[in-house]
């Protein structure tokens, strides 16, 4: 029976730096290849609507006539299904997070 099993671990923790990050003073540790904000590059887009059809949450809207591409950031789950299916490689996932928002507006490009 041991009553001091935790003591070694506690002493070690007391002597080392905190493992947590001093947010917001410390910078966010970015892990490469993490799935974050969906980035749209307008140049190559042919407005084929494949991304809109594939999106599991229906976050993407495409208007071929007006040449407009829109995304509802609050509905996007950053799954990357649209990135995989885009025939012109217009879409990519960055490691950033979507900016905080107080309205439910769609980002239109």
């Amino acid at each position: 029976m041991s009553y001091f099993g935790m003591t070694k671990l506690t002493l070690k923790s007391a002597l080392r730096r905190p493992v947590t990050r001093g947010y917001p003073l410390g910078p966010r540790r970015v892990i490469p290849d993490s799935r974050g904000l969906l980035v749209f590059t307008k140049d190559n887009c042919i407005y084929c609507s494949v991304c809109r059809k594939k999106c599991p949450t229906g976050a993407i809207g495409v208007n071929r006539n007006l040449k407009k591409w829109a995304i509802d950031r609050l509905r996007c789950i950053s799954c990357g299904y649209c990135v995989e299916s885009c025939p012109k490689q217009c879409l990519s996932l960055s490691t950033d997070m979507a900016a905080p928002t107080v309205t439910k507006d769609r980002d239109t490009y």
Partner: protein, 358 residues
Amino acid sequence: MPRTIIPFGPQHPVLPEPIHLELAIEDERVVDVIPTIGFVHRGLEKLVERKDYQEFVYVAERICGICSFIHGQTYCQAIETIMKIEVPPRARYLRTIWGELSRIHSHLLWLGLLADSFGFESLFMHSWRIREKVLDIIEATTGGRVIFGSCKIGGVRRDIDPVAFQAMLAQLGLIEKDMREIVTVFLNDSTVKERLVGVGILSKGEAHALGCVGPTLRASGVSQDMRQLGYAAFDEISVEPITRPEGDCHARCSVRCAELFQSVDIIRRAVAKIPDGLIATKVTGNPSGEYLARTEQPRGEVAYYLKANGTKNLQRFRVRTPTFANLPALVKMLPGSFLADVPVIVLTIDPCISCTER
């Protein structure tokens, strides 16, 4: 002796998710339990009628926030069997590796919650500190921390390169060392033992008769592990179920502690044996037929029943989650225990209510 009815949950400090137990108490002892579920039902099974079978992988992954990867994997396995799709060997190994990483992170989360349930806050923090490192490996290899999103029908979405494998193994070595420190406390510390040993005993016969699954079943001495069915790469990587004969809360804790190291060992063997090649095969057409897929989740066996009729939407989808199978055992374990032990006993079945209610 007068009886008192004490409601336990749906909101309770030890419960991350809502389940309600009506405890009939005589003095300080529980004599009867009536469980109620249904607070977080989301109707995910009905959603197969609206999402096509390829899109539904994302829904299947979101059935549970802890064992998300294995939910997605089980769904994919069922569809692949119906459509007779041959999954490339490399993809099967990658699924095994991610599945075991998810088991380590789930067990560490559970150990933390258990420590929290008997008031050992520092041990809870240490468990979650180590879990964070596992989540970092998962994020670096799949892109997501909890929802992996890397499994798809016919294979996996991402590959892991040899450099990332070496970094993963190095990090796993450190994690294993950290885990040994906390596991020693969980298994040997007197404070922990006083709360767990001899509490919530479930005999081997009862565990078997009530249809328990996973660590709850193995802690009662029944040797059963769905990984022995040989899904993913488990046909080439053998798994010996970890069992304990006691059937009490400490045995359930001890089984999960041993499984942490077993999973690390499986990952090492999988990385050593992983073949080169494709990570996915092309999927065309729609499924037609039915299948029952079974895999071993951190909490136990999960069963997926799928029925497809040749259209892009499935006809029927049914999930039997491990917590649902373990709830009858919980009702059996509680009578006779002290009221103060109820939170600990409830936690030792590792209740995942969002899974249970889907």
